[in-house]
């Protein structure tokens, strides 16, 4: 087995033109069709939305240190948790990895110059922004208090808050997802470099592909659902309001038909990032490539069949409950397979402890715990006790924050040198990862216990016996909040003051690392020809540079 070192593709010396400095000026950014610039436009927008949603979370946790509420009136609290949910789900988590890392990396990883439809890509961003403006308008004009789930008939016939602007904002932004998914599917099918067969693709691409399928098939349904909700609110026709003959449970079926696959939109790309991080930082190819690739597709497929597990206590027939329960158990299996394969990849590897790897390891542990607590909820008998309580809140935050956000941060830290052409201070990065990990667990682990004890969710006030656990959770939240601010500071700092990054600071495999950092606008001078399998570290090494 030869271990010839592969020199990184030579870049003509003195050529420092890259996608960031190729053109200057606001117009060159707002009218760009370069997928890399669009990725940065998204990065800025979703970071803003993350901190808006996070601010609401901080207010909520501050409020909950007192059983009778420490900060706001119940009506305001109800708006806070609603807007936190709407913003975090639709305007941060759903676009996060696909619209930033996906947009930046998909063409580069497959050896293409751009996505299939660059102008459509820019349109997707504008649609996202318009949707965000509607929702932020709703926030400013008094907020909305229906819960991010908009259950009827409260949302259609009782709430006096800005339901329609919010629903409209989410409706509009949905089209951003649909177009992004469409772009990715066509690009991955049709624009792979010569030699890059499906089974040589990076697993990040498989994950994005599976996510895009969910974007395409699921998002239109939430669009129609929200439209019907708006119609009901305006016209009081009797679509969802039982007082005039409508069916409120129909709303829940339509809503969850999208919103359950949506949670897989939020985690699958993170799993794709995991595969990239684990392989690079253990310098080994992934264990069980085929299994990991197909598990992404399996998750996407089964995710459409389990929505009823959100409705076990609505009076669903026992038999419907059984079917949704067994399918919900089934969807856990491919995720477990991934976790085992990632762990096995570390075996006899050459492991380094860079910041992205720390995020990856945090992800695996927290995702395992979050996923396994899903089994409590797939189990009919325990779900009855736990549904509608803080157990659910803890479960989904373990996956969405302990999982998806950690993966997102890990990915940002991994590809930052490529995106910005700069290195960030490693010490601070590792410190922040640790602070986030500790703060996260302190925030959300007590919530499992609160839920089991019976504290319902969406409670602005609560019985005094739950105070200790609530205070622990709020303490954790303050640590977590600080943890998130630290990367914001040093990554921004690095854009100007960080040392210049070479083409491949991590010594990673992958076509994106064969370009300069930052890459030129057209990505590759010549489209590469691929001759090796993915993550082929054993046969050809890449030195850090």
């Amino acid at each position: 087995m030869s271990t010839a070192t592969l020199d990184v593709h030579e870049v003509p010396t003195g050529s420092r033109v890259n996608y960031l400095n190729a053109q200057y000026g606001v117009k060159s950014w707002l009218l760009t069709t370069d997928h890399k610039r669009i990725a940065l436009l998204y990065l800025a927008s979703i970071t803003l939305m993350f901190f808006v949603g996070g601010f609401f979370a901080v207010l909520m946790r501050l409020h909950l240190i007192e059983p009778q509420g420490a900060l706001v009136q119940p009506e305001t609290y109800n708006k806070l948790f609603t807007m936190h949910g709407v913003i975090m789900v639709f305007f941060f988590l759903v676009p996060s990895i696909p619209a930033t890392l996906g947009n930046f990396l998909v063409p580069m990883m497959i050896g293409a110059r751009d996505l299939a439809f660059p102008r459509l890509n820019l349109l997707s961003w504008y649609i996202y922004i318009i949707g965000a403006i509607f929702t932020l308008y709703a926030v400013i004009s008094g907020g909305v208090d229906t819960g991010w789930t908009f259950y009827t008939p409260y949302s259609s016939s009782f709430s006096h808050t800005s339901v329609i602007p919010t629903a409209l904002g989410v409706f509009i932004t949905g089209f951003s997802s649909i177009l992004t998914g469409l772009n990715f599917v066509v690009t991955i099918h049709k624009m792979r470099a010569p030699g890059l067969t499906w089974f040589r693709l990076p697993l990040f691409i498989w994950a994005i592909y599976a996510t895009s399928i969910i974007f395409i098939l699921g998002t239109p349904v939430i669009a129609i659902t929200l439209f019907l909700l708006g119609l009901e609110r305006l016209l009081h026709i009797g679509i969802f309001d039982p007082a005039i003959g409508g069916d409120p449970i129909l709303f829940q079926h339509l809503f969850w038909f999208y919103s359950h696959p949506a949670v897989y939109i939020m985690i699958l790309p993170g799993m794709g990032v995991m595969s990239e991080l684990i392989t690079c930082f253990s310098r080994k190819r992934i264990f069980g490539y085929g299994f990991v690739a197909f598990s992404s597709l399996a998750i996407a497929f089964i995710s459409f069949l389990v929505w009823g597990h959100h409705m076990f206590v609505t009076g669903q027939s026992i038999y419907a409950g059984l079917i949704f329960s067994v399918l919900s158990f089934m969807v856990a299996i491919p995720s477990a397979v991934k976790v085992f394969n990632w762990t096995a990849t570390l075996y006899k590897g050459s492991i380094s402890y860079d910041a992205p790897m720390l995020y990856a390891l945090g992800f695996i542990g927290l995702f395992t715990m979050g996923g396994l607590t899903g089994l409590f909820l797939a189990s009919l008998a325990t779900d009855v006790h736990l549904n509608g309580t803080y157990f659910i809140v803890a479960h989904f935050h373990y996956i969405m924050v302990g999982g998806a956000v950690m993966a997102y941060l890990g990915g940002i830290h991994f590809w930052w040198p490529k995106i910005a052409g700069r290195l960030y201070p490693d010490g601070w990065a590792r410190f922040a990862a640790l602070v986030i990990f500790v703060g996260f667990n302190l925030t959300f682990f007590p919530q499992f216990m609160l839920g089991y004890l019976g504290m319902p969710r969406r409670y602005a006030v609560y019985p005094a016996e739950f105070q200790v656990l609530n205070v622990m959770s709020s303490a954790g939240a303050s640590i977590l909040g600080i943890g998130y601010l630290i990367p914001l500071i040093y990554l921004t700092w690095s854009m100007r003051y960080g040392p210049a990054a070479g083409p491949n600071p991590w010594g990673a495999k992958g076509l994106e690392w064969q370009t300069p950092s930052p890459p030129p606008t057209e990505n590759f001078e010549e489209i590469p020809v691929v001759t090796e399998e993915a993550y082929d570290y054993a046969h050809t090494t890449v030195t850090r540079g």
Partner: protein, 230 residues
């Protein structure tokens, strides 16, 4: 460099993110199919809700359906199918390089599409508005409907939403056709490059197919006597 020479021979309309026209054509085609799949899910959610309420309130939906004019629905169906034919013929004309025929058939498609919208808006929607059958705009529940009258507005809500969404897609289609007709007039399409026509044709056919489902679902509940009007 080799790239430069190849670049100069790329036909107009070539987009540089692609390697060659073949890849561009395939990508465009796949893109439209995927888009139509999303449209299917979009209309699908609506159809599913409609079917559920039709099952729950069949008497009300029958009353509503009988208030629609089948003759206009049938006329519009024929008009739309005709427009799909002219669209296909426009693509055929491009394939055999006949520029005049392209423009002619595209124009015919637009005329038929506009006729569809004209018939719908003037004879059906306007008529319904005058008859107080538009929910939210002075809907009047008629006593002769009896107890089932309470849910007739729900039928019309779905009727206007479904045909309205369809009409919106038609209007967008007309916009696309206008652009295509101008492009055809300028000779942009030839036997080697007509993928915008093909891809738009797919969209137009999809809109036609949606109508073919809408028509029986909305207009033909409870059956009709041939030659007897309602």
């Amino acid at each position: 460099m080799a790239d430069l020479a190849v670049h100069n021979t790329h036909p107009p309309g070539f987009a540089h993110q692609f390697e060659d026209m073949e890849q561009q054509r395939e990508a465009g085609s796949l893109g439209m199919w995927v888009f139509l799949l999303t449209e299917l899910m979009f209309f699908g959610g609506l159809f599913a809700s409609y079917i559920i309420y039709r099952a729950l309130y069949l008497p009300s939906f029958e009353i509503g359906s009988h208030l629609l004019e089948v003759k206009f629905g049938a006329l519009n169906t024929a008009v739309l199918i005709g427009s799909s034919l002219t669209m296909a013929l426009a693509i055929r004309s491009a394939q055999v390089g006949r520029r005049g025929a392209q423009v002619g058939f595209l124009t015919a498609t637009m005329i038929l599409g506009a006729a569809f919208l004209f018939f719908k808006f003037t004879f059906e929607w306007h008529h319904d508005y005058i008859e107080h059958l538009v929910p939210g705009f002075g809907f009047v529940i008629r006593p002769e409907w009896g107890a089932a009258g309470a849910h007739v507005p729900l039928f019309f809500c779905f009727y206007f939403f479904m045909t309205g969404l369809h009409a919106l897609h038609m209007i967008i289609g007309l916009g696309i056709l206008t652009v295509l007709t101008l492009m055809a007039h300028r000779g942009r399409f030839n036997p080697h490059y007509y993928s915008p026509l093909e891809v738009s044709g797919l969209y137009w056919h999809f809109v036609d197919i949606v109508w073919i489902f809408l028509f029986p679902l909305l207009y033909l509940i409870g059956g009709r006597y041939i030659g007897g009007g309602h």
